[in-house]
Amino acid sequence: MTYVRPPEERPPHPMGKLTMSAKMIGQPIHIFCRGCGYGSIAQNFCRLFAEENLDATKYPFFVGVGCNSALPTILPGYSFMTLHGRTVCTATGAKLVRPELKPICIAGDGDLLSIGTNHFVQGCRRNIDMLTVLLNNRVYGMTGGQCAPTTPTGAKTSTTKWGYLETPFNAVELARVAGATFIARWTVANPRQYINTWKRALKHKGFSFVEIISTCPTYFGRFNDFPEPVDLFRWIKNSAVSVKKAADMDPEELKERIVVGELYEEQKPELTELYYELVEKVRGKRE
């Protein structure tokens, strides 16, 4: 871990007000490995806040536990770090009490699709107004590269020396059947696209789900014949295929590819609005 003090001569960073005060007193700016995709994702959240001029108090982050829990050192605004897997349900409580908030949940693949699957599925089903961003690097990076429910079949990890036997989750399909109303998937190779998707997702009323396929060169890459971070990055970039293109492709061929783009959007009644309508009705009757 390297501790970096902010340089004193340089002019202040445009996001200086929003970024973490810890930077000022010499806390680590980030703890991500060389070539990790998470750093750029965190940076792009700063871009999102700057471009949209968002009020940080209205868009609190709820981060899970895993490599993604190191994001708050870079993230703009306020971060509420939850326990492993409990992002969506914690944000549900906050959103219901303060309907003016728009929680942004950031969770890893082990976080959202293994220990917290139930909370994620129920969040989609409730259609509660929040943005959930899944950072999918396909392994448990923080704990040393164990297999995750998103690890591709046959991939080697710390706990599957001879290859992963199980079938990975398709998070987008899961969100779709569970009832999420805005679903998109991008890779770390499409930063501008996913920032634009976030912008649309923040304006969407309901449960928005954006999956970002990321890289883990330290564990996933090293164990699976991607010696350099850029190899893994290229592999992800080249296996991505847009929805439009995918429509004309053979389903067999698509199995090995990652379909990216804004995949689904619909308007459905949102839980917080429904609840407060109910409150008005009940109170009206009482008085």
């Binding site: 108090t57 306020y78 770090m81 409990r86 906050a94 009490v97 908030l101 909370h119 009482r286």
Partner: protein, 403 residues
């Protein structure tokens, strides 16, 4: 839309014949609870059932979550967003909640967890009482902490202590455990409600930070000069009084993650954290502890108990006093932090102690420890899934006196 404020007219007035579980709900609402998340589990189902229509009535939020893990996580989210919040469960659900209780302790959020205890272990017997979670309330989660824990013994106390539990949670910024049991929850008794004026005096509202947010310190810290713990107002999502990062990992009072050897400080920062979390409660033992005492002045033997056995013990005391036997009663309304001062005081004057407990002897360990220090001897009277008959306690007291 604004956060629902406490309106005095929302709570009940006069008196009513009420079930124990309902009395807790009314107590919570009177105390200003505006968020409830729960999951069905017998024998506490009447709590979410009543909450589900009372909450919309008063402009609060009721949410039935997918499991106990999510219930308590939602309560934490709501509390962080500024609402007084609570949840309710029974033994097996309480185990699931331990993870998040430990988390709430770490990030110092006020909330109340009601545990309507049932017979265990495992799924046990859903409709019978067993004070099996007394130790779990203290030692259940990972980490090292003590939570104020209430043990009511009547429907009136379920109402009154619920208000005290919420107040304690707000004052010390800590989760508070509320130990009821299957029979107490299903018991019907008359509950008297305080008048709006009384209630206004009793209820402590959520403290909100003021002044420059840059100088707001979100977590409890020790004043180096006086040695006292400074408990700052709770941070709130949606306002500027919020640390940039509320970490669930060990942190310093500023909310920055710490690791023992990376910071060059005189003390180990994680030591300071655990010290603050424990001592802010333990140092205020006298303010938190509530007891009921009967005939302690001239007693030869004292019955020490908490919760439902307190009712049989009272019957036993009345019977024994009629016979001319000098017996006293010490009933704890709060079991944690353990009432060390009260227990020591009693053990100094009375040397024989009978402890009727509805378990295999959980709080007895502590009672015996403090009794032994003063040279007193304690006897345990166990009962599972059943309340002690007053005659059992009478017999035990006589047996003890004969020794």
């Amino acid at each position: 839309m604004n956060l629902p404020e406490l309106k005095i007219g929302d709570s009940m007035e006069g008196k009513d014949l009420m079930m124990g579980n309902h009395a807790f709900v009314e107590g919570a609402i009177a105390a200003g609870c505006r968020f409830f998340a729960g999951y069905p589990i017998t024998p506490q189902n009447e709590v979410p059932e009543r909450m589900s229509w009372r909450m919309p009535e008063i402009g609060g939020v009721f949410m039935q979550m997918e499991d106990e893990l999510a219930s308590i996580a939602a309560v934490i989210g709501a509390s962080a967003a500024g609402a007084k919040a609570c949840t309710s469960t029974s033994g097996p659900g309480f185990c699931l909640m331990q993870e998040c209780i430990s988390w709430a302790v770490g990030i110092e959020l006020p909330l109340v967890i009601s545990d309507v205890q049932r017979t265990g272990p495992s799924s046990g017997i859903v409709s019978l009482p067993h004070h099996s979670d007394v130790m779990q309330a203290h030692y259940g989660g990972n980490g090292d902490y003590v939570l104020p824990t209430y043990a009511p013994s009547s429907c009136q106390e379920l109402f009154d202590l619920a208000i005290d539990a919420f107040n304690t949670a707000e004052i010390y910024r800590t989760p508070v455990i509320f130990l009821s049991d299957a029979w107490l929850g299903q018991l019907y008794e008359v509950v008297k409600f305080p008048t709006p004026e009384e209630l206004e005096k009793r209820v402590i509202p959520r403290r909100i930070a003021e002044g420059n947010p840059q100088t707001y310190i979100p977590f409890t810290r020790k004043d180096k000069k006086t040695g006292e713990f400074i408990i700052t107002p709770t941070y709130q999502l949606g306002t500027v009084y919020m640390p940039f990062w509320v970490p669930s990992v060990s942190h310093n009072p500023m909310g920055l993650p710490i690791e023992g050897d990376t910071m060059q400080q005189d003390e180990i920062p994680s030591y300071a954290l655990v010290e603050a979390l424990n001592d802010k409660i333990l140092n205020n033992e006298e303010k938190i502890v509530q007891t009921e005492e009967l005939y302690l002045d001239d007693a030869d033997v004292v019955i020490v108990c908490y919760g439902m056995p307190g009712r049989s013990a009272k019957g036993a005391v009345r019977e024994l006093r009629k016979e001319g036997i000098k017996v006293g009663l010490l009933r704890f309304k709060t079991v944690w932090p353990f009432p060390t001062k009260k227990m020591t005081e009693v053990a100094q004057t009375v040397k024989k102690i009978v402890v009727p407990e509805m378990n295999w002897g959980q709080l007895f360990v502590e009672i015996d420890r403090y009794a032994a220090k003063e040279g007193a001897k304690a006897w345990l009277l166990r009962q599972i899934s059943k309340l002690h008959e007053p005659s059992e306690i009478v017999a035990k007291v006589k047996e003890v006196l004969a020794q």
